[in-house]
């Protein structure tokens, strides 16, 4: 049974309305929910307004009553600064409900000397930090401590059952049970607690058994303390805005080292890094970098440099910033426990890996991180889809899962040249374009291939197909809507391109290639070289 310090702000919904919406809590104010008063200010209470009154009744007793709608979100929002203020004095605060929070009393009591001093300190600090009048109470268990806080009392250790014994039964806050117990002649918590626990459970059920535990001064559960997460991000402000890439890169490297040191201090390492740069004009660029291993200090520095390089020089689609960088923030987004860099079991990450990493990182520095790619096997039906290229150093995750059957994929051998997409024309013997009907028959045997480049026309000596694929048919392409249900096959209509028909052809000059007909257009998609 732990000693619990309970901080309670009386009439919190009224105070929250004052803090958030600016309704003066000194005037007669009532907060209403479903036409009933849920809280009122002391001034209203002096006029006779009580909890549970109807609106008209309350306004009848106090004609100049200010009525505010109940808003649990406002209550919670307003309470957050109070929790933060309590947390500044003592860690491990648990919010019970807006307006009340509890914490273990042992730590602050030892720190401030005694429980009395701890409670005073916390109330004082909340008053200074938020301007909110709070009351604190200490007892064994959150329930008893909450009741103690209403009286502003500190119940001595071991005195909790005696403290609870004289209190009215209605404090257990279970109206039906209270009503029943009253009719049975039980009016105080002490009388309720005197009943045998097994009989209470058998007669009134689990909910009453819980209330019985509370009334006897035992807690329903131990406090789940909220531990503030350590702030791992590092920030650097620059008095002189950084305009040049090399200066920014130097600052980034130092910041990277600081982040790495801070993480190492917690025994952590990061796998994803968020870099946020803010310029003098308030523009902000954020990008997250992933990594397949753990980011070392140098790797963090490199990524900062790449990002700033790309941004400051304004290459690519995004325009450059209009002012120099004044603020740089590194946030570790994926953090793992770090127990030293692990070498791969089969010798990966050994000597060869380090040599390769140095060379490849150098090229990334020269051309940008996207210039060096590594292939990852992934799933797909065309040879180009079966490989995902990811930048060196990034997580090797395929775009589509490699596992699975992928029916309709091309039979081996695999073409040596993929991702071609050269438009061509395929003609029959008479020089007419070749198409494919809805029943997957070619309109004529392909006889000639006509390309735009210097090789010009070539005779087709052998061919096979069509091998149809229809992928992602369940998605609608924006602006096109659902394709009308016509007999015309989709691969001859230019507006949709979810259906593809593939052909293998062999040309007179010995070349073999894979042609794709999609949306009425022929393309060379791969070459068997």
């Amino acid at each position: 049974m732990s000693r619990t310090l309970f901080v309670w702000c009386p009439d919190w919904p009224v105070l929250a309305a004052e803090l958030v919406d600016g309704v003066s809590a000194h005037a007669p104010v009532a907060v209403l929910h479903a036409n009933r008063v849920v809280a009122c200010s002391p001034a209203a209470r002096a006029e006779g307004v009580r909890r549970g009154l109807r609106r008209r009744e309350a306004q009848g007793r106090c004609p100049h009553l200010i009525v505010v709608d109940h808003d649990p979100g406002r209550d919670a929002r307003g309470f957050e600064p109070v929790v933060a203020a309590v947390e500044q004095v003592a860690p491990g605060v648990e919010v019970v409900r807006p307006g009340a929070c509890a914490l273990a009393a042992r730590g602050p009591a030892r720190y401030f000397g005694c429980e009395q001093a701890a409670a005073e300190q916390i109330v004082e600090h909340v008053a200074q930090a938020c301007g909110v009048e709070a009351q604190a109470g200490i007892a064994s268990g959150a329930f008893a401590a909450g009741l103690a806080a209403r009286q502003g009392r500190i119940v001595p250790p071991g005195g909790t059952p005696a403290f609870l014994a004289d209190l009215d039964i209605s404090t257990v806050d279970r109206p039906e049970l209270v009503d029943l117990l009253r009719r049975l002649g039980i009016h105080t918590l002490g009388e309720f607690a005197a009943l045998p626990a097994t009989d209470v459970l058998a007669r009134f059920g689990a909910e009453a058994a819980l209330a019985h535990r509370l009334a006897a001064g035992r807690d329903e559960r131990p406090l789940a303390a909220r531990q503030p997460p350590p702030d791992l991000a590092v920030v650097e402000e620059f008095d002189e805005p950084l305009e040049r890439v090399d200066v920014a890169a130097f600052a980034g490297r130092q910041l990277g080292q600081r982040l790495h040191d801070r993480l190492a201090g917690y025994g952590l390492a990061c796998t994803r890094l968020g870099i946020t740069a803010t310029t003098g004009h308030g523009e902000q660029l954020h990008r997250t970098w992933r990594h397949d291993g753990l980011l070392s200090a140098a790797a963090i520095g490199d990524r900062v440099r790449w990002q700033l390089d790309g941004w400051l020089s304004g290459t690519g689609r995004v325009a450059g910033p209009t002012a120099g960088i004044t603020r740089l923030r590194l946030t570790p987004e994926g953090v793992v426990a770090h127990a030293g860099m692990q070498a791969g079991l089969w010798g990966d990450g050994g000597d060869g890996w380090e040599r390769a990493d140095r060379a490849l990182s150098r090229i990334q520095g020269l051309l940008g991180p996207e210039a060096v790619l590594v292939p990852v096997p992934s799933g797909g039906r065309d040879p180009g889809d079966q490989i995902t290229l990811v930048p060196w150093g990034d997580e090797r995750t395929p775009a589509r899962p490699a596992a699975g059957a992928w029916p309709g994929h091309l039979p081996p051998p695999v073409p040596a040249i993929t991702a071609h997409a050269t438009p061509v024309a395929v003609l029959d013997e008479a020089g007419e374009p070749v198409g494919v009907t809805a029943r997957l028959a070619v309109t004529a045997a392909p006889a000639r291939l006509s390309t735009a480049d210097s090789r010009g026309r070539a005779r087709i000596v052998a061919w096979a197909g069509p091998w149809p694929v229809e992928e992602l048919w369940w998605t609608t392409i924006p602006g096109r809507g659902v394709a009308p249900d016509t007999a015309e096959p989709e691969w001859s209509r230019p507006e949709t391109s979810k259906q593809r028909a593939r052909f293998q052809v062999q040309l007179e000059d010995g070349r073999a290639m894979l042609l794709t007909l999609t949306g009425g257009r022929w393309q060379i998609t791969a070459v068997y070289d």
Binding site: G347, D348, G352, R355, A356, D357, R358, A359, L360, R362, I363, L366, L367, A371, V372, L373, V374, P375, V376, P377, P383, Q386, I387, L389, W392, P411, P412, P413, V414, P415, A416, I417, T418, A419, H420, V442, A445, V461, A462, W463, A464, Q504, Q506, L507, E508, D509, G510, R511, A512, A526, Y528, D529
Partner: protein, 251 residues
């Protein structure tokens, strides 16, 4: 161990401390065999069907790969030997290089890095990659002038990286490997495809190397399973490539 020490004794009893120049090669061999760090083999292995052609890829050499049928496949097969021996491979300037086909020949994808579009900086990229890779395949965007070729070759020799170049654009290479299609259905050596039916199954090619003019290798490149295979009636080796293939086709 004892015999090694005896062999390593540099000079006879009559001339203490002098090493004859003729002993140097023998000494090097001994050191290389005893110290694993010194075991830098100057040749990287090739896939077995290609072995008679070159005997191995010499580190620091420039090998030009060309021909009218399957030069990309041949380059993949050459890299596969390096990769199978645990080496790292780089590919520069080939945006449509089919990694899946390369994996089929035996290139390990976790030890492969691509620089698809180096642009005008391709020579710097090749020089940087040569310092970290065991083999680099490059397709230069234009014919390479002799001076640049010599500079890159020197860089490759210095770092022990084999440079493979695609096409007839490199002046002064050490070895030229060429592949030609054997007459099949058409001129490319492909088998399996007919007018309106079948599919591409395998390709017969003849591969020659400029360093061994007498040898013509007859290969399936690719074979029906996507790897390199002897055709069996090769002028050098006679393993049952064809029978293996036909049995696969039957099953």
């Amino acid at each position: 161990m004892r015999s090694t020490t005896d062999a390593a004794r540099p000079a006879g009893p009559g001339r203490p401390g002098r090493i004859e120049p003729t002993d140097l090669g023998r000494l090097r061999a001994i050191v290389r065999d005893t110290d694993p760090r010194m075991a830098v083999h100057d040749r990287m292995p090739l896939l077995e069907p290609l072995q008679p052609l070159l005997g191995g890829l010499r580190r620091g050499a420039v090998v030009a790969v060309d021909g009218d049928a399957g030069r990309t496949s041949l380059a993949m097969a050459l890299l596969a030997g390096v990769s199978a021996a645990g080496g790292w491979c780089g590919v520069v300037g080939m945006p449509s290089w089919g990694c899946l086909a390369a994996a089929g020949y035996g290139v390990r994808l976790d030890r492969l890095a691509l620089v698809p579009e180096p642009g005008t900086a391709w020579a710097e990229v090749v020089a940087a990659l040569a310092g970290g890779m065991d083999a680099v395949l490059v397709r230069p965007p234009a014919p390479v002038p002799g001076r640049l070729a010599r500079r890159l070759a020197a860089k490759a020799r210095q770092s022990g990286c084999t440079l493979l170049t695609l096409g007839r654009v490199w002046e002064g290479c050490d070895t030229r490997v060429s592949t030609y299609g054997v007459e099949g259905v058409g001129r490319g050596g492909w088998e399996g495809l007919a007018a309106g039916r079948g599919r591409l199954r395998a390709r017969r090619v003849t591969v020659v190397a400029s360093t061994r003019p007498g040898i013509e290798l007859d290969l399936w490149l690719p074979g029906e399973d996507g790897t390199v295979r002897d055709r069996g009636d090769s002028s050098v080796s006679g393993r049952g490539g064809v029978s293996a293939l036909s049995s696969r086709a039957a099953s």
